[in-house]
Assembly symmetry: C2
Homo-oligomer: 480 residues x 2
């Protein structure tokens, strides 16, 4: 099978992405408010499958799903000073109920720390109540003044997956941060996508956090996308809201907290990692339709072909494989291929007259478009095996592509050159000072992502900005 | 087994209900904004099970799940005049983004007709695009100035299940109304609850609808709860938003629409229908935990009892029955009974020394508290059968109780007397005039629910208000 991919899509990623969202039936962003969009039926199913994966991961690790109200009184939001300072200029405010002005205005939650804290204060009495590990999947809002982009920069993020945990000790909170990182790694693994984990610099951590770890993904246009974050909140919110517990000894102490969240962006990362000129390519575990069965018509054998297609679909369906039988009479096989390739269905099965005669079916992988023949009675095993291989190949390809777009350089001008052409992530040595960090951002006109969490190495070298002995590697990239 | 239920709870329904919500871990309504509350972990699971049921029913009948934005521009809301007139004084308005006043203010959706219409206009081109049957499960808002009550009257209804359908003809829209009614009947059936269906009077239909059918449930305090509604929208929104399709003949016509919704109230109806002095009683299909296994300790046989409990729990779990094994060492069996009865777990299994010796277990039904002995190796079958019988008994009891609280009377003073003591629903003959309808509401100080949809009878009699020949039966009740 010759490689038919011309890889044009990467060069026009923004256009390709908008095309896929609407034409593959994922999201319609023509809603009359900027930065707010509609999940269409097929996209909604993809979204639900992603949510199923993260729910499973969180449930299995003892998190409990809950749901807090959307609105946060200004008085609650204001309790943690850093939090308020950062968010008051960025949130939508409800100021009127009907025709009446409200006495206290309400924020549409940008995140839920300030919604949850007053309830934790009611719920937590003693050490026996801890830890509490909660999560919710809700819509959050930011009044973005920058240009919005569908799924990438929204004013309503409608499926923010946010977890909030409370602990008796700093050590437990630290252990929780590690658990959260592992959960998110598994989530990205299921999507067969790659990421880099960086500890954000002081000046770019979550408002109210002690430190923040981020998962960044490199997009086809060389810009990075922050797709998930994990924060150790220390006792900042606990002190602001005075949330305490009684220790075994009988004294009262403030709790320790973490929080972590995933926006709608992991889906962007997934589409971007696996796409091609023909459209989306969905990992089998996420695809709402895993297999499409398409008859290759032949007048004299029409009935037999239809029956073979139905039998195949029925066998797969009984084995819990999600299958669609496309018998639309008014479309050619070619038009059907186009339709399902655009939507990223992982496996296509074609059945024509020769296949029926030989009791075979043709199996086509969406990612490579490779064909294989398969005995009709072996189809379930072949599909399962092919989906497994495909997932692994897609994951490997995603990691390989990302690693090819991470650069280690010694000189500022090298970094500058790479970032100017949007080459990906650039790693340089850094003395660790905030001053040099800001200078670095200015010089290369990009964002400091922070220091690697996923690398252990003995560092030799000098800060690319001041030339003093470096303390750390720091990552820089042009960010969405 | 003697009846231990003193039925005190019905007399103090409001207090009982608030107790169940917090103490059974369903909902905490102490959130710092009136009419907004927090779903706690156990309640969230109940909520998810209800959503699973309605999703299954809607998916099976060709509805597609989607998700529209929360915010609706004032300009969209204003397009259908009746709709705007009704909602502008009742919605929360977002007027500021950050520190900046917005040019066009946004409503927090009170319902989504005006959010969906502009997109339908983009999506619908020809008759081949119809019908479109969409639904979404989202949070909706009303600025309630009346006293709020947890789950019953909220300012944020966080799991509004709203369906919106578009059709080529009036006939198809009418057929859709019938399908919607059947879907909702099945939904209430699964909850083992009872209801009355009434066509709301002209002055109380949904703003923008041609007519509205409502599902009303009678609460233990004799008041009724509107738990679901089905509306034929005719072409009102289609004309306001100019949504047209090309017919087969090539001309353009406005579409016909229906919409139907269920708020958070069906859960109230479910808790109210089956509760007792000991707490909630959940129908087996909705219960997050269907069976709890509790050991009756005995020092000399501790190991054998624990093992028997584990074996039983494992057998049930393997048969897809959701089971909890309560081995908490610090609680007596009595304290555990109290704990799980409050939470409404349908079946309790007790295993003590005598049971182990006889290779038996004791099975207790939550609704009747009846005990039965069962051979340990027959437990799966017995539990399944008991859950089935229990569901039927609960449903029968709910219908019987409701029917005992529906009265047919001839005279206004009889209606008045019954409604004054909150006896339930009162049916009277009515001439059909709006004037008499309003007078009736004034005279009996209650709400006209409308004319029966679920009754076919030949009516003889005169209007209780004006004495002229009656056209219809009309239902009256004190409503929440």
């Amino acid at each position: 099978m010759p490689a038919i991919k011309r890889e044009q899509w990467r060069r026009h990623f923004g256009k390709w992405f908008r095309h896929i969202l609407i034409d593959a039936g994922i999201m319609d962003y023509r809603y009359p408010i900027k930065g707010m969009a509609v999940w269409m039926p097929y996209g909604f199913k993809v979204r639900q499958n992603l949510l199923r994966v993260i729910r499973d991961l969180l449930d299995k690790t003892g998190h409990q799903e809950v749901r807090f109200p959307l609105l946060i009184p200004e008085t609650s939001l204001a309790k943690e000073a850093e939090h308020m300072k950062s968010f008051e200029g960025q949130v939508f405010w409800v100021t009127r109920g009907g025709l009446t002005p409200l006495e206290i205005k309400y924020a549409l939650r940008p995140t839920s720390e300030a919604a949850i804290a007053p309830m934790l204060k009611l719920w937590i009495r003693s050490h026996a109540d801890l830890p509490i590990k909660l999560y919710q999947i809700v819509n959050v809002f930011r009044y973005e003044t920058r240009a919005t982009r569908p799924l990438i920069r929204m004013r309503e993020v409608d499926n923010f997956k946010e977890a909030h945990t409370s602990h008796a000790t700093l050590e437990e909170a630290e252990a929780q941060v590690k658990e959260a990182v592992e959960i998110y790694k598994k989530f990205f693994d299921t999507m067969a996508t790659s990421y880099k984990m960086s500890k954000r610099p002081e000046w770019d951590k979550f408002p109210g956090a002690v430190y923040s770890i981020a998962f960044d993904q490199i997009m086809p246009d060389g810009r990075i996308l922050q797709s998930g974050t994990v924060h150790n909140l220390g006792q900042n919110f606990a002190k602001a809201f005075d949330i305490t517990y009684e220790t075994e000894k009988g004294d009262r102490k403030h709790i320790w907290q973490t929080c972590y969240g995933l926006s709608g962006r992991p889906l962007v990362g997934m589409l971007a990692a696996h796409g091609d000129d023909n459209g989306a390519v969905l990992p089998p575990e996420i695809a709402p339709i895993q297999v499409v069965v398409i008859p290759i018509p032949s007048k004299e054998m029409e009935k037999q072909i239809t029956k073979a297609c139905q039998d195949t679909a029925s066998k797969l369906s009984k084995s819990n494989i999600s299958v669609e039988l496309d018998l639309r009479p008014d479309l050619t096989p070619g038009a059907k291929y186009y339709y399902w390739e655009l939507r990223g269905v992982p496996i296509r099965i074609e059945i024509g007259p020769r296949d029926v005669k030989q009791e075979e079916v043709t199996v086509v992988r969406r990612d490579t478009l490779e064909k294989q023949m398969c005995k009709a009675d072996k189809i379930v095993g072949v599909v399962k095996k092919t989906m497994e291989i495909m997932t692994n190949d897609m994951r490997e390809k995603a990691w390989k592509w990302m690693n090819e777009h991470v650069y280690r350089v010694d000189k500022l001008e090298q970094a500058n050159r790479l970032l100017k052409k949007r080459a990906g992530i650039v790693e340089v040595a850094w003395c660790g000072s905030e001053d040099c960090g800001h200078k670095l951002e200015e010089e290369v006109n990009a964002r400091v992502l922070g220091t690697p969490v996923d690398l252990k190495e003995k560092l030799v070298g000098n800060c690319v900005v001041c030339g003093k002995k470096a303390k750390d590697i720091v990552r820089v990239a042009v960010a969405y």
